[in-house]
Every structure is written in structure tokens, then in C-alpha cells.
């Protein structure tokens, strides 16, 4: 069985805690106005265990700055799960929404095998109901709706070239959160899984709501920051349209180029790139450790990234996890 490269497999001299930092907000200009739909712009993906040891929470957040007023009823929002380390989905949680009227309804289907790899709305419905409400069906829980953005980062300091200001740009921002609590067994028998999020739109708009269209992937994200930090210009869009199993062949050069510009040797850069790609959030659902084992809402992925990318020259942006997080599902704080 193939396995994901863990941080301890990285190049000599690493601390064993590799990673990357900035999330995915607004990384796909084609999804921004004019002409784009921010509601399918992925901001973050999380996978963690909290409370019940036999359950995990997968989270797909979209709609940075809540620029859109609703989920896209034509889109497929997907949480993909690789159970055998080949960077291809073996399980997919396919999330769709009804047309927005006074409110929206959400439906989650679970697809497996070949169905999980299709760019279509496949699978059996496991949970459904109105948005902005915690839903329960058997061992599954679901929340989809406006929440406080749990991502924390001194974005302005980053834009100023690591001249950090100590202010958390996202402290008062909202997103549309999709939180899905699943029994671990719904993620497969192998506890070492890979998780990533995708959003897809119909290739052609037939103006119906039956979700039976041929879909095209427009955004994807596993670990935070891969696209934002390492992909330049038009490569951002190419990366968003890509598939994780192709990442090492298609995007290693982009990652290596950035790492080398910060002083990493060829070997170091190649070693780190092999950790960062494919862009999948590795997660052992039997472990409570945080990032790189999954990603908790409180994991300071930025600080981890800064140290790695800058080769230790920058170690922190000076901001910490938000204090509005909830101790219970859906864990994200109430909207501002």
C-alpha cells in the first residue's frame, strides 16, 4: 500500500514539523467579481477529531469575506477522501444546495469507489436539511451556513513582505462553513487517509436544478497555502483545475522555485516539495495530533509555514487562534 510522506521523511535538518501556511482565500481570481462566484471559492479545509474518538469532523469553508449571499445551487461542493495513498478519491462526500429563496437546503451524498472519482453528483444521501442549522442523521452531523472565519493570519504583514503588524486580518471576517461530522468508519478501514476539498460547476448551464450536469472542477485545496504561496500567475488557475495525483509531476517545479528563492538547497527544496505535494491534507483518524496530521481550527499553520518557507528566518506572524470557537459542533464561532 502506498503511503503519504510524513514530515519525518523530509530532508535532514528539518524539525519534523513541516508544513505551509496561508489559506486559500481569494486565490482564484476567476471566482471573484466581476464574472465569478465567490461562494465556490474555497478558503480552508480542516480534518480533526474532537470529543468522540470514533468520529471525525471534516470542514470545507468557502465564500471569503462572505462576498456572496448564498451557496451556489448549481455547484457541487466536495470533500474527497483517499484511503490508500494513491492521491485519488476513494470516498467523496458530495454536498449540494437548493436554489436560494428565503433559505436554502443542503444535501450530502456519500460516494465510494469509481463514483467518488467522477465529476458528478454521485452517492447515497446520508444527511439533508436546512442550512444554518445543526442537522443529525444517525451518526452524521452537518452544518452549512454563515460562520465566523476560523482562519487567523496577519495578511497585511504578509502583503508587506513579512513586515508583520500583529493584527489578524480575519478576526472579524465571516465565511460560509460546511462542517460534517462522520463516524471514522465512514472514512474507510485504513486510519491513514488524505482529505481535500473541491468545488465544481456545470460545464454548460442548462438552467435546471437537478444536479445531473457534467461538472468541471474550478477550485481545490488540501493543505493551506499551497496555491497561494507557491503558484505564480496563471499557474494558480492551472493548479486549481488539477488533480492531486498529478501534482508531483506538474507542480513540483513551482514549489522548488519558491523554496530555493528563500535559500533552500536543491535537495532541501525537493525534499520539502515531496512533502507538500500532492496537495492533500493527511489525516490519521486515530490520532489527535494536529497539523500535519489533519488540521485543527487552532493549529497555527501560518507559523509552521513561515519557518519552513523562509528557512527559519521568519517564525511567526504574531497572531493566534480565534477566541470565538465553540466547544461543540460545528466548532466555528457564530458569525460577526
Amino acid at each position: 500500500m502506498m503511503g503519504y510522506i510524513q514530515p519525518s521523511d523530509g530532508p535532514p535538518g528539518q524539525t519534523g514539523k513541516g508544513g505551509e501556511g496561508m489559506a486559500d482565500h481569494l486565490d482564484e481570481p476567476n471566482l471573484s467579481p466581476p464574472g465569478g462566484d465567490p461562494s465556490i471559492d474555497i478558503t480552508d479545509v480542516y480534518a480533526f477529531k474532537k470529543g468522540n474518538k470514533k468520529k471525525s469532523t471534516l470542514m470545507l469553508n468557502v465564500n471569503p469575506l462572505t462576498l456572496s449571499s448564498s451557496f451556489n445551487h448549481r455547484a457541487l461542493y466536495q470533500l474527497a477522501v483517499d484511503t490508500n495513498g494513491d492521491a485519488r478519491a476513494d470516498i467523496a462526500f458530495n454536498i449540494t444546495f437548493t436554489r436560494p429563496h428565503s433559505s436554502q437546503k443542503v444535501k450530502v451524498r456519500r460516494a465510494t469507489g469509481d463514483d467518488a472519482r467522477e465529476d458528478e453528483v454521485e452517492g447515497d444521501v446520508i444527511i439533508s436539511g436546512p442550512t444554518d442549522t445543526v442537522l443529525t442523521a444517525g451518526q452524521f452531523k452537518l452544518f452549512a451556513g454563515r460562520r465566523s472565519d476560523p482562519f487567523f493570519f496577519d495578511l497585511l504583514g504578509f502583503l508587506a513582505g513579512f513586515a508583520f503588524t500583529g493584527s489578524d486580518f480575519f478576526a472579524d471576517k465571516n465565511v460560509f462553513g460546511i462542517a460534517l461530522e462522520v463516524p471514522n468508519k465512514a472514512l474507510g478501514q485504513n486510519p491513514n487517509v488524505g482529505v481535500w476539498g473541491r468545488t465544481l460547476l456545470p460545464e454548460e448551464d442548462d438552467h435546471d436544478d437537478d444536479h445531473d450536469d457534467d461538472l468541471m472542477q474550478v477550485e481545490r485545496m488540501g493543505r493551506p497555502a499551497i496555491n497561494t504561496v507557491f503558484m505564480k500567475g496563471a499557474r494558480k488557475r492551472e493548479f486549481n483545475r488539477g488533480k492531486p495525483h498529478n501534482d508531483p509531476a506538474e507542480f513540483t517545479g513551482d514549489v522548488v522555485t519558491v523554496l530555493k528563492s528563500f535559500g533552500h538547497s536543491d535537495a532541501e527544496a525537493a525534499g520539502l516539495a515531496a512533502i507538500l505535494l500532492p496537495d492533500i491534507l493527511t489525516y490519521n483518524y486515530e490520532s489527535g495530533a494536529g497539523f500535519l496530521n489533519g488540521r485543527n481550527l487552532t493549529d497555527d499553520v501560518i507559523d509552521i509555514e513561515l519557518g519552513i518557507v523562509s528557512k527559519g528566518a521568519v517564525t511567526t506572524d504574531g497572531v493566534a487562534a480565534h477566541t470565538d470557537l465553540l466547544g461543540v459542533f460545528p466548532f466555528m464561532g457564530p458569525p460577526h
Binding site: L26, P29, S32, L156, A160, G161, A234, K236
Partner: protein, 160 residues
């Protein structure tokens, strides 16, 4: 000198108030043309763009500075904002808290460039510790401009 508030500035540069109300949706395109001059009136307009962050990291956002300046009268208005998207694919989403309107208080020509001094009258547009006085240099012969961003001097490309 007359103070120019945000609404008046946007009227001058042709943006309706509706576009401003949302803040984050302020249009970054088409407010003003490229660097152009009018010798009879002594005015010129410019628009300069730079990717942020600069340096080795791929740009994530675009810093846009654009304005109308009357060299003879040493007056004018300049807008500064940061838009999501790198310069080649800039969106119309202005990142909240980073849009500023600068009232020009002095204009000097030196070494083929124009040095513009201005002030941000609306103190709510200032970041903590940020100076309200703004310096901008526009060098049309070289096609570049410079101004500050969070204490860093940013070189920007003038757009035609």
C-alpha cells in the same frame, strides 16, 4: 485648501456612491486612465499597479494607486487600494481596510519625475501608527511610480 471628502473624490473620478457603499466591491478598473498629461490645464492622471507581496513570493494581490494631479495648482486627489488577485488577473474586490483617499497638498517636478505629497484626511483609513502624510513619486519617463505600503516603499508600474 478645500478638503475633498470620499464622496466628492469618487464623483470627480466617475464612480457612483453605490459602488463604494459595499467597500469590498469598489471597482479598481477604469477609474482613471493611464499616465496622461494636459499641458494647457497643467494636469495629468496616472494609474500604477504592483503585485503584493513583492520579491520571491508569487503575488497574491494588486496594489493600485491612481489619481488626478494638477501640477500648476499643486492639488489633486489620489486613491490607493489593494485588490484581490495578482496584477494579471486582478479582481474588483478591494481588501477591507486598505482603501485610502489622498488629498494632494503639494506637487514638485524633479529630475523628470513628479513628487506628490498628500494627506489622508479620513483618519479611519489609517492603520495603527500609519502617517497621514503620503509621498508618491511618478516617473513617467521610466514608467514607474513609488509609494508606501505599511511602511515599505513599493515600486509600481505605470499603466498606459
Amino acid at each position: 485648501m478645500e478638503k475633498i471628502n470620499r464622496r466628492k473624490f469618487l464623483t470627480l473620478v466617475g464612480v457612483g456612491s453605490g459602488a463604494v457603499a459595499g467597500g469590498a466591491m469598489l471597482s479598481g478598473a477604469g477609474l482613471l486612465g493611464g499616465p496622461s498629461g494636459d499641458k494647457s490645464s497643467g494636469t495629468f492622471s496616472f494609474r500604477a499597479v504592483s503585485g503584493l507581496p513583492g520579491g520571491a513570493l508569487p503575488s497574491y494581490a494588486s496594489y493600485v494607486v491612481q489619481g488626478n494631479v494638477n501640477v500648476a495648482a499643486r492639488s489633486g486627489v489620489v486613491a490607493r487600494a489593494v485588490y484581490a488577485g495578482y496584477p494579471g488577473a486582478m479582481s474588483t474586490i478591494a481588501l477591507p481596510g486598505l482603501s485610502q483617499v489622498v488629498r494632494v497638498t503639494d506637487v514638485r517636478e524633479a529630475e523628470g519625475a513628479v513628487d506628490i505629497t498628500g494627506v489622508i484626511d479620513d483618519r479611519s483609513q489609517l492603520r495603527p501608527g500609519e502617517d497621514a502624510v503620503v509621498q508618491i513619486r511618478v516617473d513617467r519617463s521610466r514608467g514607474v511610480a513609488w509609494t508606501g505600503f505599511l511602511g515599505q516603499n513599493v515600486e509600481m508600474r505605470l499603466q498606459a
